[in-house]
Every structure is written in structure tokens, then in C-alpha cells.
């Protein structure tokens, strides 16, 4: 008996690696967030029907992206073939590619076919001239506004930072904040901040990779945010504790006039029972003096693991998920934004969601964060100093000076 137990334990110890199933099929494994809406399962069913030799194992992991990034990193660091595909965020891609964890797919998805996708999503899937990802889900920051409140006072939809501030001041009440965004010290802060910087005509890096974040336009952008909180007071100080969901909750409960957020919030706000249902509009983020409103590009896609034993089958699945039919299904059932340009003009899609036309415009102008393998360190330098300025520990100019110094050290 005890010998048998020992054997079982030993087997369990050895089974740390991946067990091969003996159903004669090729198994393709990947990790994703919980399949809300169940559309991934439907797509996988269709795929398996069309490809009887392949079995797809989707692992529904934690909904936190950071947690999934860690799970992927850990598996890849160990050169483990646990995952054939990785469902990769645009922010992880350079790091993963630089480590050699991902297989370039230029041979499988040539440029003439990559053109069918939104340019930002392709740029975000490219690292050092090579394509590493099939774009599946597009994402970009934008400005939500309360249509009903603006119309009631006859205020036009703001297109500049100044108009935003004035409209927010005119419409805010003690119970309703003017403008909310993601201001906590985390990746989301960088996304929100970069949109304002771009709007003011600044940038993080120039084409040659030189750091520009301490230049006057960026400083003006940061000062505008700090003043918005403490001087003009149309941004509540609580934004320093907000991530996406905190901001969305406040806005959805009707306690904010304007909000910067990702497209996912739209579907939730249009749901039955939402206090702001039918009262919300979206536009690209406003511009400051000398700039043009811009969106930070987010977005997800499938990369093939370098350690996968079945890259061809894995690509087949990625391609299937990227097909117009699958993307349409994911959008209709889960609100997942397509990466194919054609779908933003698709009659079915537009009939179900007329705002997709506006969204297509926003996403077409979306700009990626710098594609750099040391992006997490760069992002942290920016996060910490922008957050320090927003909490008045540092002045905007000195905060960005220090951030720039750390960025230069990181880029080198």
C-alpha cells in the first residue's frame, strides 16, 4: 500500500511537465481571461469541427492581466511548452519577443494579409521589424461624455482641453465630478497620461528613440492635470486611487460628467439597469494647445510560443480567431472590438452598434506605447513621477525631468 502511495507521489512529482494526451489529436493550449459571454467556447467548437485532428485546451485564468502575464512569463522562463499560444497584451509583446519566447510569424501572415488589420494593431504586434502576433482584439482610450447633461445646457462636445475644463466646471455638482480618469500608480496611468501629452503636442520618445518627456508640451500636459485637481478642481483627488473599474463605476452611477476609459465600458453602460444607459457619447480624447487628440493603443492577440511543438496548428487556431466571422461573433456576444478594418463598416455590426463608426475613427488614430523590451521599467519611471506630481510630492517640471533621466538610463 505504502509503496503504491510512494509511486503515486513520485508520479505526481514527475508530472510537473506537460502530460501528453493519447487521444491521437494535437492539443493546442493557451491561457486567457475568463470567457465572459462564452463566445470563445463557440469559436473553439467551430474550429474543432473544421479541424478534427486538433483539440483546443483553453485555460480560463485570472481576470487580472498582470497575473496572466506572470503565468506566461514563468512558463516561458522555464522553457516550458505548457502554452502553445499566448494571448498577449500589446504592452507585453516587446518584452516577450526580446526574450525569444515568441516565434516570428511573417512567413505565416505576410504583409499583404496583415494590411487587413487596423494599422495600430499591426504596429503593436511588431517588434524590431518582425511580426509576432495575430491581432484579435483592438483597444484604445477615449473620452466618454454625458450627452444628456451637455445637451441640457447647450454645451457642445469639447474638442480641446480648455473646452473640457470649462464644460466640466459648468456641469459638475458636489455629487458629480467633472472629469475622471485612471490616476492610480499603475500602467493605466501611463496610458491616460500619454493621451494628454500627445494632445498637447508632446511625445515620450521621438523617431530616433530620444526621450522627449521633459519637453515643454509634456510639462504643460502634466501641469494641466495637476491644476485640474488642485487649482480648477474639476478632477477629484480620488482619481489617484482609480483604475478602470473605479472610474467606470463612478461614471456609470452618474457621478461624473466626463471619463477617460477603454471601449469595454461602453457595453456595460448600455446594459439594462445602467443609470446612464442611452445618455453617453464617445469622442477621441481632447487636444491641448498645439496638439491633436489621440488614443493610447491597447489590444490583444495570439502569439505562438517558441517552445510549442505544434506551431502550425497553433497558427491555424489564431487565424481562425482572427477571421471576420469569429471577430463578429466575439463582438456581438462579448463586445470584443474587432481588429479587422472591414468590420467597422460592416452593415450587421453598424446596425447592432452605430457607435462603431466613431470607434473605428478613434482606433484608426490610436498610437502604441513605445515598443521597447525594457518598457515595464520605463513605464514605472513614468508612473512613479507622474503620480508624484499628481499627489503634489514633485512639481510637474521636476517630476518629468527625473522621469526623463530614468528613462534615458533605461533606453540606453
Amino acid at each position: 500500500m505504502s509503496r503504491r502511495l510512494a509511486l503515486v507521489l513520485l508520479a505526481a512529482l514527475c508530472a510537473c511537465g506537460r502530460a501528453e494526451q493519447d487521444d491521437g489529436k494535437v492539443h493546442i493550449r493557451y491561457l486567457a481571461s475568463p470567457d465572459v459571454g462564452g463566445f470563445s467556447k463557440v469559436i473553439i467548437e467551430r474550429f474543432e469541427k473544421a479541424n478534427p485532428g486538433i483539440k483546443v485546451d483553453m485555460i480560463e485564468g485570472p481576470s487580472s492581466g498582470d497575473a496572466r502575464e506572470n503565468m506566461y512569463s514563468t512558463a516561458f522562463m522555464a522553457k516550458d511548452d505548457s502554452y502553445d499560444l499566448a494571448y498577449v497584451d500589446v504592452a507585453w509583446l516587446p518584452k516577450f519577443a526580446a526574450q525569444g519566447w515568441l516565434r516570428p510569424i511573417d512567413d505565416l501572415l505576410p504583409p499583404e494579409r496583415a494590411k487587413e488589420f487596423l494599422p495600430g494593431d499591426v504596429a503593436g504586434s511588431t517588434y524590431q521589424g518582425k511580426l509576432y502576433r495575430v491581432p484579435i482584439q483592438s483597444d484604445g482610450g477615449m473620452l466618454y461624455y454625458r450627452k444628456d447633461l451637455l445637451e441640457a445646457k447647450g454645451i457642445p462636445v469639447p474638442r480641446t482641453w480648455e473646452e473640457l475644463a470649462k464644460a466640466a466646471l459648468a456641469l459638475q455638482t458636489p455629487q458629480r465630478a467633472g472629469f475622471v480618469f485612471q490616476g492610480k500608480q499603475y500602467e493605466g496611468l501611463v496610458c491616460a497620461f500619454l493621451e494628454v501629452v500627445w494632445g498637447f503636442g508632446g511625445d515620450l520618445l521621438d523617431e530616433k528613440g530620444e526621450v522627449l518627456i521633459d519637453a515643454p508640451p509634456s510639462v504643460a500636459a502634466l501641469r494641466a492635470l495637476v491644476d485640474g485637481i488642485y487649482e480648477r478642481k474639476f478632477i477629484p483627488q480620488a482619481v489617484l486611487t482609480y483604475q478602470e473599474e473605479e472610474a467606470r463605476n463612478v461614471f456609470q452611477e452618474g457621478r461624473a460628467v466626463f471619463m477617460r476609459n477603454w471601449p469595454y465600458a461602453w457595453n456595460l453602460m448600455q446594459k439594462e439597469g445602467s443609470p446612464v444607459r442611452g445618455k453617453v457619447g464617445i469622442v477621441p480624447m481632447v487636444a491641448g494647445p498645439g496638439g491633436k487628440g489621440a488614443a493610447t493603443l491597447g489590444g490583444w492577440g495570439f502569439s505562438i510560443s517558441s517552445y510549442s511543438k505544434h506551431p502550425a496548428e497553433a497558427f491555424k487556431l489564431a487565424e481562425f480567431f482572427a477571421s471576420p466571422e469569429s471577430q463578429k461573433l466575439a463582438f456581438m456576444q462579448g463586445g470584443i472590438l474587432p481588429t479587422r478594418r472591414s468590420l467597422y463598416a460592416d452593415p450587421d455590426v453598424l446596425r447592432a452598434a452605430p457607435h462603431m463608426k466613431d470607434l473605428g475613427r478613434i482606433l484608426a488614430g490610436a498610437r502604441p506605447r513605445p515598443v521597447h523590451p525594457r518598457w515595464p521599467r520605463m513605464s514605472d519611471a513614468l508612473q512613479i513621477h507622474v503620480s508624484a506630481a499628481l499627489s503634489r510630492q514633485e512639481k510637474p517640471a521636476e517630476a518629468l525631468e527625473m522621469a526623463a533621466r530614468e528613462l534615458r538610463a533605461a533606453v540606453r
Binding site: S73, Q99, K184, Q185, P236, L240, A388, S391, Q393
Partner: protein, 278 residues
């Protein structure tokens, strides 16, 4: 084989599984950390290291001190007999028994700017201007928010350790002191405190090491913000290894962290020995 040697061999055999597990999960990682550590020179020029170290050290000093004072009071109260003591003892332990990540989530709600109970409480007491105070949005209040949550969680642990020390003090000493005319306060300072010193030392070292490596509470409550003000060394090492993929430097920071702890502990022990020999 002699019976003694045979018994010894059997004993080792019994201990083998435990030793094996210890070796695999504890010694091996430690060994690996030292093997992988490198780029130590970067610590000197790392602009994050200074602030992170300052935050960690001050957080450790402040929380352990507060916990010691409160824990001592708690231990003395729980040690003296009163009705329902068993229940109170159990109740006091609840914060310590909660998983940190869970209780940190609860504290995040308590401190929440829009509906948090802390703002409401302090507003009713007239201490803040509005019930919608964003405690985690301000650098120093975020720091104290973490101190409060940590003290709340770990003071019971301190109290338990100190109670074990109280249990070891013989009643005769108190009786003798009472006969000599010492009041309760005098008895505390001449009997309890000196005899409790070894326990206090152990408790402080224990809690000091734990707080120095504080991770989960900060990670959940503030993520190190605002402006990096609440970032501890453990959170930074996590970032360096898992997010920046700088394994060698992360291990170097871990080694530096361990060195700090060894230094801190030996300093405490030296001070204690000094006082004892005097």
C-alpha cells in the same frame, strides 16, 4: 551494527522526507539566489533603491514599535483574568488569522474615497473636511494607512508572543514584590518588563523581519503609490524580477535585503547582550 547506530540510522531515515522537502523548497532557492545574483554595482546608482529602502526601514521601525506598545497592553489585558476572557482572546486573534490579501482588500474599501467608512468616521469626529477624503491619494496619508492596516493585523500576533513570555514569569516574584510594598506600576517595571525582555527581543526580531519583507498589503492597497511613496523593497524586487525580467539584479537586491536583515538582527542582539552584561 550496534543498536545505537541502528537507531540513529532509523531516526535519520524518519527525518529524511522533512529534510528533503526543506532542502528542495528552502535551501535550493537560497542557493540559487546567491548563484544568480549579479550586477551588485547597480545598487549604488539605482535611483529607486534609496527611497524604497527608506520607506521599508521607516515602515518597519514605526509599525514594529506601535505593535510592541499596543501588543504589550493587549497581552497584559488578556493575561489578567476576567469574565469571557476565552472569547476575547479568540476574537482578538481574528485579524491575524485573516489572509493579508483579503484583509488588504477590505482596508481598500475602508479607505475608499467615495464610500469608505474611514472618511465618514473622521468626518463625524470633525478631523477631515469631507467624508469623501481620498486617503490613498495623498503620499503621507497613504503611508499611515498602510501602517494602520499592518498594526491592526499583526498586533494580536505580538500579543500572543508576549503572553507566552508572561506565562514564564513565576507568580512568586509578584508576591514577593507585593510583600515588599511594590504597587502594580512598580511591579510592572521591576518584575514584568525585565523578565519579559528576552521575549520582547524575539518578538521584535520576528516582526521586524516580517515587516521588512512586507509585500501583499502594499501590493493590494496602493501598488506602491502614490508617486512610489509606499513602495517597499519586496514590491520593488518583485517588479525587478517579474516585470523587468532582470533576474540577476533582482537576486542581488534580495541578497542585499538579507544582509540588511542579518545586520539589523545582530544589532538588536548586540544591544540586548550589552544591556544584560551591564
Amino acid at each position: 551494527m550496534k543498536p545505537d547506530a541502528r537507531a540513529g540510522a532509523v531516526n535519520w531515515l524518519y527525518a529524511a522526507p522533512a529534510l528533503l522537502v526543506m532542502g528542495v523548497v528552502s535551501l535550493l532557492p537560497i542557493f540559487e539566489t546567491f548563484r544568480l545574483a549579479g550586477e551588485f554595482h547597480r545598487i549604488a546608482v539605482d535611483t529607486r533603491f534609496g527611497p524604497v529602502m527608506r520607506t521599508t526601514l521607516s515602515l518597519t521601525a514605526v509599525t514594529v514599535l506601535l505593535e510592541l506598545l499596543l501588543g504589550l497592553v493587549m497581552a497584559l489585558v488578556l493575561w489578567s483574568p476576567f469574565k469571557g476572557r476565552g472569547f476575547v482572546r479568540a476574537a482578538v486573534l481574528i485579524p491575524w488569522a485573516l489572509p493579508t490579501a483579503v484583509m488588504a482588500m477590505a482596508w481598500r474599501w475602508i479607505y475608499n474615497a467615495d464610500y469608505g467608512v474611514m472618511g465618514d468616521l473622521l468626518f463625524r469626529l470633525g478631523l477631515v473636511a469631507s467624508p469623501q477624503t481620498a486617503f490613498l491619494a495623498d503620499a503621507s496619508s497613504a503611508y499611515w494607512a498602510i501602517v494602520l492596516a499592518d498594526v491592526w493585523k499583526t498586533t494580536p500576533f505580538m500579543a500572543i508572543l508576549l503572553m507566552s513570555g508572561l506565562a514564564a514569569i513565576p507568580d512568586e516574584l509578584y508576591e514577593a514584590a507585593a510583600i515588599d510594598g511594590a504597587g502594580p506600576v512598580r511591579r510592572f517595571f521591576t518584575v514584568t518588563l525585565p523578565l519579559l525582555r528576552p521575549t520582547i527581543l524575539v518578538a521584535v526580531i520576528f516582526r521586524g523581519i516580517q515587516t521588512f519583507g512586507l509585500f501583499d498589503l502594499v501590493y493590494v492597497l496602493t501598488g506602491g503609490g502614490p508617486g512610489g511613496r509606499t513602495q517597499t523593497i519586496a514590491v520593488y524586487v518583485y517588479d525587478v524580477v517579474f516585470r523587468y525580467q532582470e533576474l540577476a539584479y533582482g537576486c542581488a537586491l534580495t541578497v542585499a535585503m538579507a544582509a540588511c536583515l542579518v545586520l539589523m538582527t545582530s544589532l538588536l542582539l548586540a544591544v540586548a547582550r550589552e544591556r544584560r552584561t551591564r
